[in-house]
């Protein structure tokens, strides 16, 4: 696999929807520690709508699929997760552009960095604030780093997924400075940020499309 086609992208997003469905209660339980225990339910509402949208997306170019994914997420999830996931996909769509027939590896590097920047812009989040950014930024950085070392696209996607998972795990030790968890101060320390955990699921789904078919 040298580029990401529309079919690859649809498989990736469908895989993300499946992972969110499987992890729904786990994500909500993480949210209960410092928030209102609804991240899994809210995100699942969005990814169910996303999966429905994907069924008719086969004829679209990848940028349009990403744009539609952003609009679906922002209009079905609500809360900060909806705004942020919407921003992530819309910024990726803008980076890919409407014309590209497939997403080249370098184009994806730009799209991932644009997505991380989108979280910063929309939520004023900085690295270490215990947010989605703490999974997103390490993944974008690891992906770009792997490419520049000459790694293949599947290997770079694997590196991004590993970095996202490590980034999410590292949020357990952080004190939240953005979002609802920030209201509880030091009591936010000790659990993984649910938004970072769901971003790790997105990158796990991306790595899956690069893996050899079973």
């Amino acid at each position: 696999m040298e580029t990401i086609s529309t079919a690859d992208l649809i498989r990736c997003l469908a895989g993300f929807a499946q992972r969110v469905a499987d992890a729904r209660d786990e994500l909500s339980a993480l949210d209960a520690a410092t928030g209102d225990a609804d991240h899994g339910a809210n995100l699942a509402r969005g990814t169910i709508a996303l999966a429905a949208m994907l069924a008719d997306a086969g004829g679209q170019r990848p940028g349009e699929v990403l744009r539609q994914a952003g609009l679906v997420m922002v209009d079905t999830i609500g809360g900060s997760s909806g705004a942020l996931y919407g921003t992530v996909f819309l910024r990726m769509a803008a980076a890919v552009g409407p014309q590209a027939r497939a997403i080249a590896p370098e184009m994806l590097a730009q799209a991932l960095q644009a997505a991380a920047q989108g979280i910063t812009d929309r939520g004023r989040a900085r690295p270490g604030d215990k947010t989605m950014l703490d999974a997103m930024q390490p993944a974008a950085t690891a992906y770009a780093g792997a490419l520049s070392q000459g790694d293949s696209l599947p290997a770079a996607l694997r590196a991004a997924a590993d970095a996202a998972a490590q980034g999410a795990a590292a949020t357990a030790a952080m004190r939240a400075r953005r979002g609802k968890s920030s209201y509880v101060g030091d009591r936010s320390i000790g659990t993984v940020d649910p938004g970072a955990a769901s971003v790790a699921l997105l990158f796990a789904a991306m790595a899956q499309i690069g893996a050899p078919a079973p």
């Binding site: 809360g79 942020l84 939520g123 953005r178 609802k180």
Partner: protein, 332 residues
């Protein structure tokens, strides 16, 4: 979980259906857009639009009607509305004299109103934002999402609503609303958490002899967990942080709102209010207006939130002005 529900996913729609059925002369529920409007739209006045996570009723849906809000976009339980709803509510409320968005300072609410405003700007529709951030729990610095919008939201909606109803222009309504925000503070105490329909069990569990200080409005944990105390001590624990932050002038006339969180009986709220009022007088203030009841809630959470507004003559007159909504009605 024991609740009157059909399907957890339908609780907001089903609630709004019932609200319209009970008060057809006051509100109209637009199912397609999932927004709540006045039964008789106002003409030629500044429109007030609010919206936030459901589960905090009567906020905001109970405050739609003459003298208060024009349109409300309710989100899922404890989840802010989505841009599509916010845009629909803004378009429906716009009566030609400008629109005010009353936004509680919660990350999701701020982001979704922000995205909605960016989208509406393409069509030349503008709304003025009044950000409500009255919660003294959260330090006013960059190490958090900032002070939450809590009980002061009701006071903004009532007082700015009265200003709009008497014909004040957009700039004046916004200025009055911001004055209310600047002169109001809130602090809350939780005795339990709450049970959301989706989760089906309490968001967290506290020991029987503990309470949470500095909670918000979504059943989330508070900032400090302390031993349960007699009501007269709780009254001081609520009032002192509010007064110390607000710093009203000695002898100031105060509007005191004591809101239950949904699961505390009115008798307990009035019991607590008596202790609050007495403490306020001891500290040299004059509580001249009181509103006690379930106003800004978190489903079935037990607890209370104290909001204090430092009044002046104009704010008092606007507070006393006629209002007719599901949850507040006087003078008409």
């Amino acid at each position: 979980m024991k609740k009157f529900i059909n399907d957890p996913r339908d609780v907001v729609t089903d609630y709004l259906t019932g609200l319209e059925a009970a008060h057809p002369g006051v509100v109209r529920f637009d199912r397609d857009s999932r927004i709540l409007l006045r039964a008789q739209p106002a003409r030629g006045k500044v429109a007030l639009v609010a919206g936030g996570g459901s589960g905090c009723e009567p906020l905001h849906t109970g405050f739609v009607g003459r003298g208060m809000l024009d349109a409300v976009c309710p989100g899922a339980i404890f989840t802010s509305p989505v841009p599509r709803q916010i845009i629909a509510a803004t378009r429906a409320a716009d009566a030609g004299a400008g629109v005010v968005h009353i936004v509680k300072n919660f990350t999701g609410e701020v982001m979704n109103f922000g995205i909605a405003q960016e989208i509406m700007a393409f069509d030349g529709i503008r709304a003025e934002t009044v950000l409500v951030n009255d919660d003294v729990t959260v330090p006013d610095d960059d190490d958090s999402a900032g002070r939450r919008g809590l009980g002061a939201t009701v006071l903004v909606e009532k007082i700015a609503g009265a200003a709009a109803e008497r014909g004040d222009d957009l700039a004046r309504v916004v200025a009055i609303a911001r004055q209310v925000v600047a002169r109001a503070r809130t602090f809350s105490v939780g005795l339990t958490s709450c049970t959301t329909p989706e989760r089906g069990r309490p968001t967290y569990v506290m020991a029987a002899d503990e309470m949470d200080l500095g909670i918000g409005i979504s059943g989330s944990p508070g900032r400090d967990r302390v031993p349960l105390a007699p009501a007269r001590d709780v009254a001081r624990m609520l009032a002192d942080p509010v007064l110390d932050d607000l710093r009203p002038a000695p002898g100031a006339q105060l509007l005191v709102m004591l809101s239950g969180l949904g699961g505390t009986p009115e008798s307990e709220l009035y019991l607590l209010y008596g202790d609050v009022a007495s403490h306020l007088r001891d500290r040299g203030f004059d509580p001249v207006r009181a509103l006690v009841g379930n106003l800004v809630t978190s489903l079935d959470q037990q607890g209370a939130a104290l909001t204090i507004l430092a009044l002046d003559d104009e704010l008092t007159a606007l507070w006393d002005a006629p209002v007719h909504t599901q949850a507040l009605r006087w003078g008409m």
